[in-house]
Symmetry: C2
Subunit: 345 residues, 2 copies
């Protein structure tokens, strides 16, 4: 790269002059159009390089009416599940020469509104959104009206058919619950009930239905309402352990809750997998390094992120295709906190 010229801004007009072709041809070359003779293209590219040319995306965006940025709206980056999802999605986008405009809403509706508006102003080509708590279904209407393609991740909008990537929460939690039952547990609690949050209710229902299917009457005292966080998990376990009649097993809403619960167990000198069986959900990278290693459900967040990107890319190519859905079927990862390995000895 020639350092001197790169200081002054060089445009396609300069390249055109220097290489003896028209602006149009330069533009075509820059966009890898097959219309240009290879020899010409090569010459143009060499000139661009030599002049220290930098493509100006703002100009292209203005002209074309869209940009090559993809908005990524994430509700909770303090949960590694969403971080891993973000990593997968971002990597895939980069491979397709898009770049990610990130916004962390921290479950705040106002922030979500603000960033979405900003992404619209930036002429984002599309949006991947993990909606924050209690996002009204009208958001879907707005996004459509704006002509902004989007795929929804993990949290579906009630009554709306949108492109969606998620996991089968109901089936997953049933597998987790059944696993505990198969190990001989009858007194099983659930930590992470959150009535304002559809996914929580879905998982709770999976837990509850599974108990009933096995002839066990669900105990509402054991459906612990907490914040979805490490602190919430710890607090939830604490409240559970303070009850006079303790359960022997616990299904946790997710790995964050499970990790917090494990921590409280340790504080009380109790051992997961021996004194109490614990199962999480999500299969976050850290779950394998809990002490003891956490039995959980693999939801493959990074994979889900990649799928979300691919789906959005497909949507951009084909705006009128029918709504797409990807529902991952969780797999049980048996590690130590459920006690299965001990039981097998």
């Amino acid at each position: 790269m020639n350092t001197r010229q790169s200081e002054e801004k060089v445009t396609i007009t300069d390249i055109a002059k220097a290489s003896g072709v028209s602006k149009s041809t330069v533009s075509l070359v820059l966009n890898n159009s097959p219309l240009v003779r290879p020899a010409t293209a090569e010459k143009v590219r060499a000139t661009a390089e030599q002049l220290g040319y930098v493509y100006n995306r703002s100009a292209a965006n203005l002209r074309q009416g869209v940009s090559n940025v993809i908005g990524m709206v994430v509700n909770d980056l303090s949960n590694s599940f969403f971080v891993e999802l973000l990593i997968g999605a971002e990597r895939k986008m980069l491979e397709s020469s898009y770049i990610t405009l990130l916004a962390h809403t921290a479950e705040d509706q106002n922030v979500q509104r603000q960033v979405l508006a900003s992404m619209r102003e930036h002429k984002a080509a599309g949006i991947i959104i993990c909606p924050s708590f209690e996002t009204p279904a009208e958001l879907v209407t707005s996004l459509r009206q704006w002509g902004l393609p989007f795929v929804t991740v993990m949290r579906a909008f009630e009554g709306e058919e949108t492109d969606f990537v998620g996991a089968d929460n109901y089936v997953g939690i049933q597998m987790a619950t059944q696993h505990l039952i198969d190990l001989g547990h009858k007194d099983i609690a659930f930590i992470g009930r959150n009535s304002t949050y559809a996914v929580s209710m879905e998982r709770l229902r999976g837990y509850s239905d599974c108990l009933e299917k096995n002839g066990i009457t669900p105990n509402t005292d054991w459906m612990i309402e907490t914040a979805i966080s490490l602190a919430g998990g710890k607090d939830g376990m604490s409240r559970l352990l303070d009850q006079t009649h303790r359960p022997t097993g616990v299904v946790c809403y997710n790995d964050l809750i499970a990790t917090g619960a494990l921590s409280e167990l340790g504080n009380r000198g109790l051992k997961a997998g021996e004194d109490m069986a614990i199962v999480g959900s999500d299969g976050v990278a850290g779950s394998a390094y809990c002490s003891p290693p956490l039995t959980t459900l693999a939801l493959e967040p990074e994979h889900l992120g990649e799928v979300a990107s691919e789906m959005l890319l497909a949507r951009l190519k084909n705006p009128d295709a029918p709504p797409m859905k990807y529902l991952l079927k969780p797999k049980l990862i048996v590690r130590d906190t459920c006690g299965a390995k001990r039981a097998n000895r």
Copy 2:
């Protein structure tokens, strides 16, 4: 918002016509210029709203030569330290009405080069960068040549005076090591040596110097080289425990390593804080929920992220100010893995 009109794209020209002023005035109003009479501004704003106007940033960027996006280049999102840093930085930027273009390099030089080039094309107003492993100092030259303001986070460039936000690694690790020595340990190992990585060498030096200052001869067999990851920590601890002469305390490069080490300890039926004293570094949110809770160094990643944003914002306001530095002094957080609480009983 009027739904019908928002479908066709309305521009400032439309607003100008509809409200009986010139384009210039509309532009001034949109940018909150004090030059416009309040009554006029109000009228213009109402018209804009009514027509369903959407500001077109691409046009503004083209005209102004810069955008309102800030590039955030992060080396390792699988380390919560950087995630928390990102959260802090992003929130601060949003408050200042910037929006974050995120790139995760996953310690890959090629990806880093690619995303930086892309951010340049997008006319990013500035960059916050946590450089990936072995980033050559020439990157600084490029960035300067490009006229792209940036602040470097955590990893400084050797021989380059750049705006920098980081922590005093040397002093921090000495505090951690001294804490173990004060608890009576003499045989202290270090997990997370990585000779290609300056921060690791800095922390290793803090550990080593602290031992010597206390009349203890450092044992190179106990300076465990590993990947900086959960797996690396687990593996490092495993190799340490396989040695015939085991240490009684371990200083870990960071919380990721410490968490992995804790996990291996648990697998072997050993208890941190009793059979082996462990200290981490970084003070990631999850460190409080390890089992047992991790004694570590508070580096306040979220705060560092905020500081990085503020520093970049200051730099944008004042391009010619001398280089700025922020070096956080770590604080020791005593929890359970060091055994101090037991010792005090």
